[in-house]
Each structure stands twice: as structure tokens, then as C-alpha cells.
Amino acid sequence: MSRQILLGDEAVALGAVHAGLSAAFSYPGTPASEVLEYLIRLAGETKEFTAVWSVNEKVAYEEALGASFAGKRALVSFKHVGLNVAADPFMNSAITGANGGLLVVSADDPGMHSSQNEQDSRYYAQFAQIFGYEPSDHQEAYDMSREAFDLSERFGLPVMLRLVTRLSHSRSPVETRDARPQNELKKGVAKDWILLPVNARRRFGLLLDVQAELVRFSDESRFNFLKLNEGDRAFGVIASGIAYNYLREAVAGEASPPTFLKVSTYPLPEGLIRKLVSHVATVLVLEDGYPFIERQIKGLFGVPGKTVLGKLSGTLPASGELSPDIVRRALGRGALPACEASGLPLAGRPPQLCVGCPHADTYRALNKALEGIPGSNVFSDIGCYTLGALPPYSAIHSCVCMGASIGMARGASDVGLHPAVSVIGDSTFAHSGITPLLGAAVADTDMTVIILDNATTAMTGGQPTYGTGERLLRLIEGLGVAKEHIRTIEPLPKNHEKNVQIIREEIGHRGLSVIVAARECVQEQRKKRS
């Protein structure tokens, strides 16, 4: 047993290692990146397991599934929207099942600190009909991650662990225990893993059969507990994950705190919920993310004779992140005395491109090249360069999901929009820009794709990238883009005029052009120097 300071992400990672992890895969994304960062660091030191960045989340999931097929314990981690990318293997892995324990770590971002939506991964666990954990603190993150692998092998199913930004990026000491040895190689049974309809029907039947057992396991889990206030039949609280902490914070020190149920596992612990609901007249549901528990309890018709409060009832805000202050209010506890705000208008300080960033030079050249062309549209993608939306650049018109810039530019071009420009980073291009570019190359779509090759995955802290430099150029050529319309620029102030000219020429070409703006990220350059 030892005590270590860990981020929530790291506690999950170390729990997995101590459960006998053999392989881990991921694609960077806030707030999940630190799971694999930690595993890569540890694997580098111990050489005992594999931890690598994958090209995208779907690939990461499939790599982890392959390790599970081989009988080894595997982890795959990503941010919530990464699970959309991996949804196909994820859903089907509930049918194949897991051979070696398989843990799926999905980190949600309520409040959208660094994301484009607030989707709640618990719906995915329910959708696939697999078991899910939701830790409230670092110790649980570690303990649940360890337990998840045993559970995965016991039921022969992948298991999800849902994190939220606040826990992912909070640090606290964790008690760790001795590591379990890794599994021996033991191949999966082919008829379970070949999802031809004849096999898939049988496997799906098994998945349905095990559901009642999963509910029972949830009811008996040590991570869920019910504390009845025998003297108070009026009001009780169901709280999950990080919201449980806010509940305990708000009622700490009270002589007669309300009845509460801590929910940490899914499917819901139905027996415990029935006990709580039968004990009180009004139930308040506290959960970070969507009203997942609240909606299930309420159903279409509500609970006769009971009042269920939460996000659906308007007691809590339907969007954004919960906070101790919001939960205090919902519990009817008054605000604490505090200093007054200064009253000065405080200018916001949004994130911005670094001084000397190559993207800034590219945007200056692009803006200049598009000057005077009416109706031009720049479809952007996910990365630091999305900050080109902000002044002084105001250079882009869309940002939707990984790789969307190229597909959207093509769709817009196909219906007559000109010029249609796509802006995408090298890592995002490798992630999911290659396939839409292949289609556009075959069609010779009238559009200009600008690949911002800064040789790293910058926004998430500088993870490696798979399509950069010479390999990127060969890749573009290999997709069938005409060689004379593959251009390279070096985005530097001294090259501004030349770069504007090149961009103008390619926008003028009424077919597909790809311009690679190649210059290394200044943050990565700095890291190499120090």
C-alpha cells in the first residue's frame, strides 16, 4: 500500500495497471488525455505493458478489443465525443463480449470547458447494455478501475467508467495496492467473435439474459449506499458521481441531514432506489450531465404520490456543470456570506493562439487571399486553429467534429458554393480527414483543403501525430490529388505575400487543391529547446 498524488484520470490509469493491464489505447482529447499520458510514462519506466496513441478513437477501440480477444486486459480511453467515433466497435463489442477484461473510459465535459457538446456517456452504457461505473473521488476512480476488469471477465462484457472534467482534472492523494499479474494469452472463441447474424442473435440473447444479474450486482455494489433519515419522511436525495460530493459538502455538519442514496453504478441499483423513494415524499436527483437517473425514475407518468425534482423539473439548470453553489440552492440552503464582487467590468480572457503560432500566419494569408471574394466559406476543424474563429482573425465559419471540415466543404461545393475552403490540422487529418479527401479526390471536387501541419497534436498538449511532413505529402498524393495542385507553404511573416499568391492560385483552380502549411508548433519547439 502506498499513497500517491494523482489526477482523477491518473487514478483510473493506475487502477488499471494494478489490475494487470497489458495494453492501453487512446486518441488525445480533453479531459481524457491524461489517462494515456500517464500510462505511456509508466510503460516507459516499467516496460511491462503497452500504451500507445492511436490514429483515432475507433482504431483505439478496435486495438483494445483485439487485445481483449487475445485474453489480455485492455483499456481504451477518450473524451465523450471520442466515443461517437468509436461507437461502431463499442456497440458491437457488447455482442462479441470481452475475453480479457476490457475497460472503456469515457470522460464527459459538462459545461463544455473544451468541447462542442455535453453528451452524457451513461446513455452509451445503457445503449450497449453494459455495466458502468461513475466515481465520485480519486480513491473510487482507482478502486473502480481495478474492480472493473474482474467484473468484465466475470460477465464477459466490456465495462464503462464514466468521468467528468472536474474529477479528471482534480488532484488528490490515493491509496494504492499491490498489482495483480497480467493474464496469459488465451484466444477468444471464433463463433462468439464472428458477428454473422446466426452468431450475433445468440450473443445478443446472452446479453439480454445477463441484464437482471447486472442490476443485482449494481444493487449490491459497495460503491452505492443508502443512508435513511428515519425521522424525516418528507425529503430525500439521489446523487451520483461528483454531484454526491456537492450534496455532502452542503449538508456537512448538519445534525439531521436528509436521506440520501449515492449512485455510482449502472444499470441503476433498482432495489436501493425503491427503498429511498418509498421512504420519502419528494426526491431530488443530483447528477452532472443529462437527467439520466431522473428521467428513468420519473418515466412517462411519474411516480404516483411522489414528487421527483431535478433538471427536468427546473430545480437544477438543464445545461452546464453543477457546482457546490447550485446544489446548495437546490437543497434550499442559503448562500454563504462572501465578499462582494468588485463591481468593475472585468474583461474576459479567452484562450488564444500563442505568440508566433504558425496558424496565425496561415490565417493572415488566407484572409488576405479571400479578400474581395464574395460568399467565401472556410470550414474549420477541431484543434488550436479553431481559435481562428476569434478576433483578430475571425477567419472561419464552421467547426463541428473531427474531420468535418473536408466533408462539409465538399457538400457545400457540390451544391454550388464557391470558394469552399477547408482548414484542418495534421493530426485531425490523420484522425478522419483522409477518407473524405479520398472521395473528393476521385470526384475532383472544386475546393481547397489547407492542412495545417504543425507536426503535433497541439491543443491537447503535444501528443504525436501520424500524418506529418513527407509522409503527409505522400499520403495526399497517394489519395489521388493532382500533383500540380498539392502546394506547400511555410507560414511565416516573411513569406506572407508569396503564401497569399499560392492560396489565391489554388482557390482559382476549379478542382481539388491541397495546400500544406508546414511549420512546427512553437510550444513543441520550446519543449525541445529546454
Binding site: 488532484r171 456537492y246 468593475l344
Partner: protein, 192 residues
Amino acid sequence: MKQDIILAGVGGQGILSIAYVIDNAALADGLFFKQAEVHGMAQRGGAVQSHMRLSDGTIWSDLIPKGEADMILSVEPLEALRYLDCLRPDGIVVTSSTPFRNIPDYPDLGQVLEALNKAPRSVVVDSEKLAKEAGTVKAQNIVLLGAAAAFLILKETSLLQTIDALFRSRGMPVLEANLKAFELGKKAAGRP
């Protein structure tokens, strides 16, 4: 015994290094802690804050409720002001007076400092000047940590040991500059 601190500044100013030193000092002192921080987008020149909770008992929330913060410790004056309504009525603000102007609408510095002086208790230090005096302008975060040290529930020896552990690998001149920055910050706060 408990202490709740809001750490504030701008991405790149070393807020997380301050947090690292406090975390490890707390561990050495046998305290429990939770420290919530911001990663990702907000790091790129944006406002950065970290909620740091120290206690010898259970800590529930990772975030500090409004009115519970005992201290705002900021490497930048405007950023200190941003969290004033989180501070207890008898809380303390320890901040740099050196503005980080990377936005076009940065308010009048005189007004910012005046507003900070209205806090129940405040310690305002010229971290840029003191860090330069210590040998590196990068050590402004450690100047602020030094200025706050006397008001923390942590042992000073624990803080110094962690600073040592953090900077020794970067060479003796870096370590010495940071130790000096800590001392100068302490003196500037009127705590020799």
C-alpha cells in the same frame, strides 16, 4: 484545520507549479487535499484557476463553494479580482501587481489595484521586480508563493523542500533563483 485557496493567473504563468508545491507540501504535512485545475483550451493565454482545498479531515467537493475561500493567491491582479466574490468575509488576497496585458480591453490598472485594496485583507507585491531581482522573471509564481507562505497552514520547510525537489533537476542557478524568489516574496509580504 482547513484552508481553501483559489489560485489564479494566466495560462503559462506557472499556476500549476504553485499547486504542485502546495500539493506535495500538504502530503508531507499529513494533510488531505483536493486540487481542481483547468487543462486544455484555457491554457493558451486564457484565464487559469485552480481550487486548492487543504484539510486534516474529509474534503467533499473538489470546487470551493462561494464564500468558503480563505485565500485568493494570484500571479496577476485582474485575475485576482475575478474571484473576489468567492472569498470569505475575512479572507485574504495575495496577488501580484504586475498586469499581464494580452487582451485589448484590459481595465485601468489603478482601478484594479484600488478594488483589490478593498478586500478585507490584501497583500500586493510587485512580482515582476522581485523575480528579476531573484534572477529570473519566470519565478513570479514562486514570489507569490513566498508572499503567501506565512498565511498558509503548511510548514514552510515542507514548501521549501518541494521547491527544491521541483527545481533541482533544472540546475542550481534555477533552483537558487526560485529559493531567492520565495524569500523576496516573503519579505515583501512583511514576513521576514
